[in-house]
Symmetry: C2
Subunit: 360 residues, 2 copies
């Protein structure tokens, strides 16, 4: 088998232990003679998977009882319009903190549904930092404040969670399950599963239950948080196979020591790469401001595009995958999700040091 | 291993050959050293899967060049609102043929978005037939006519496709890939994958390309058919693992002889059960009118609820799963999707005959 070091930005790696369990059990689940994907979503066997995943998520993220946990579909992109559809009524506006391309997309989807405005933006600095804002400056008619906790493309991450009177909605697609969530400052957290929580096809949404009744009255049921919450995410057929993989990933995180352990590992792994950058005398130059650095996605440039190309080609030959920067920004990016083993990061660090030595 | 005869109404069985291939290849795809679900959706390896699935679907269903093939998320339920959102502008109305509960749900989702009306309905006959209507009677402002080609819950199936001037949208969730689609009479066909086309989590939509530009101008991109079509269903991360399973199911159908073979097999298998019903002297009574019978879902009652319970219990002991009727109608239902082997239907037929003999 090819030795691959998977640094894909998403979909990203799945822990080996999870893949082994899935390969073994997914196809004859609990001796039912059926694969997980062949079970009725109304069967007791599937319901065990479904509620086990929900409960484990609650436990790991310390989700308070007054929040509802939902498994939806459509990725974070559909959440962009779903949250606007639920909460942007005629006279209310969504406030967006623009910290990267995904935040821009969230605002754009919201704008197709209702009134939106920019609360803060770092676009004029090519999103090198996470912009801050004073909650006191928010418009009076603000329905929600929308944040992106980690900016995959630019490699920045939110560290100070704002305290707002208005509901705070956070796209956590690229750092969910790698850090605790301060539930006193968050009202809706959502994430596509394919970076830290499983395979593409299931979207996690955790919403303060009291918000459900404040949603717009004339929603199509398939786009109503309340509808999905009332039916425990079994309103229509959920993506059962993807939820099964998520349940295994959650078990794995728990076995490894939980969210604190994930956070510590991520910070330690990221430090290995940031250290190379900071000690490289400018050979590697980080894109993000130091105090906005992400420990999930590390972005950097080399002295020239030619060297970047050479770096990426050699990296590819050595089995590293996913190290190219997003096509909109170029350069390089190391995605350091939960399932990336520390050993792989060490091998990458050594390669970066070697490459610098050969090309300085 | 338990011997299971999987007659689940959906998610339903997956062909054994597909499960074997998935178990073997899903976890080290094409010697990449990565599972399919770990591949970037922008990688060449995943794109091969994606476009292979699209092209095989085109080939199997003989989809004309002026149609776009989309892989979406959210199931048929999200299509209910997505199609209304795309095509119900201020002055237009959606015409719904109510042939069952799912048609009702489609109309309800549409009504949350725009004007809808009922073109025909068989609700007063507990949906025992597929209602017909005269296209000449449609309102002038009709944006589309919405049909359900197979009614999973009631066991009826559309046989005469209406010829309408207006676009015809068809929910084919429970009979896609079991029959040809008359593209001169259909403008949008869509289906959740979990009955005949793979695992839950991917939704197939096949739409006449000329319709894309007629869609409402102010759509959120995530709900715009045009957006997804323009990006080859890679606008955002698609459900890559589910699309992989669909690609294997499509390959399997092709190997087995294609859609004509699936249709013939389905009709022959269904006839085995309908025969038992028709020769039972009323012990088994079919719910659907004979000329509206579905060959995908066969619904019937027994002389008493007590006998139905006994039948279902004994069936369960023998390894049959999924034979209970939908909770809204009771009775029994045999779901006879492509992946149900003829042998399993024969074993079920024998059990039905035996049960009748013991209880008449």
């Amino acid at each position: 088998m090819t030795q691959t070091y998977n640094f894909n930005p998403g979909p990203g790696p799945i822990p080996n232990e999870v893949l082994a369990k899935a390969q073994q059990n997914m196809f004859n689940f609990e001796q039912t003679g059926m694969a997980v994907m062949e079970l009725s979503h109304r069967s007791a066997a599937y319901e065990r998977v479904h509620f086990h995943a929900m409960n484990t998520l609650r436990e790991l993220l310390d989700i308070p009882d007054d929040f509802s946990v939902l498994f939806l579909q459509g990725g974070a992109s559909l959440q962009f319009s779903m949250l606007a559809k639920n909460f942007l009524s005629d006279n209310k506006a969504g406030a967006y903190v623009l910290s990267g391309s995904w935040a821009e997309k969230a605002q754009k989807e919201g704008a197709a549904i209702g009134e939106v405005y920019t609360a803060a933006a770092s676009s004029n600095r090519t999103y090198a930092d996470v912009p801050v804002f004073d909650p006191a400056d928010l418009q009076e008619n603000t329905a929600y404040v929308h944040l992106t906790s980690n900016n995959t493309i630019y490699g920045t991450q939110l560290s100070d969670w704002p305290a707002c009177e208005q509901p705070v909605f956070v796209d956590m697609s690229s750092d969910i399950l790698s850090r605790p969530i301060p539930w006193d400052r968050v009202d809706l957290a959502y994430a596509g599963a394919q970076k830290n929580a499983g395979m593409a096809g299931v979207t996690i949404a955790i919403i303060r239950t009291s918000l459900l009744d404040q949603a717009s009255g004339s929603l199509p049921p398939s786009l109503s948080y309340k509808q999905h919450a009332d039916k425990d995410s079994l309103y229509n057929t959920p993506p059962t196979g993807a939820i099964y993989i998520t349940s295994l990933v959650l078990d794995w995180i728990k076995e490894q020591g939980g969210i604190t352990e994930m956070e510590n590992r991520a910070k330690e792994k990221a430090a290995l790469i940031y250290d190379v950058i900071d000690r490289s005398n400018g050979f590697y130059s980080g894109h993000a401001d130091k105090d906005s650095r992400s420990w999930m996605n590390i972005t950097f440039r080399l002295p020239s595009e030619e060297l970047e190309k050479k770096f990426l080609n050699q990296a590819s030959e050595r089995g590293f995958t996913g190290l190219n920067g997003h096509r909109s920004v170029g350069g390089c990016r190391v995605s350091n999700y939960n399932a990336v083993p520390r050993e792989h990061v060490e091998i990458l660090r050594d390669f970066m040091l070697e490459f610098q030595q050969n090309h300085s």
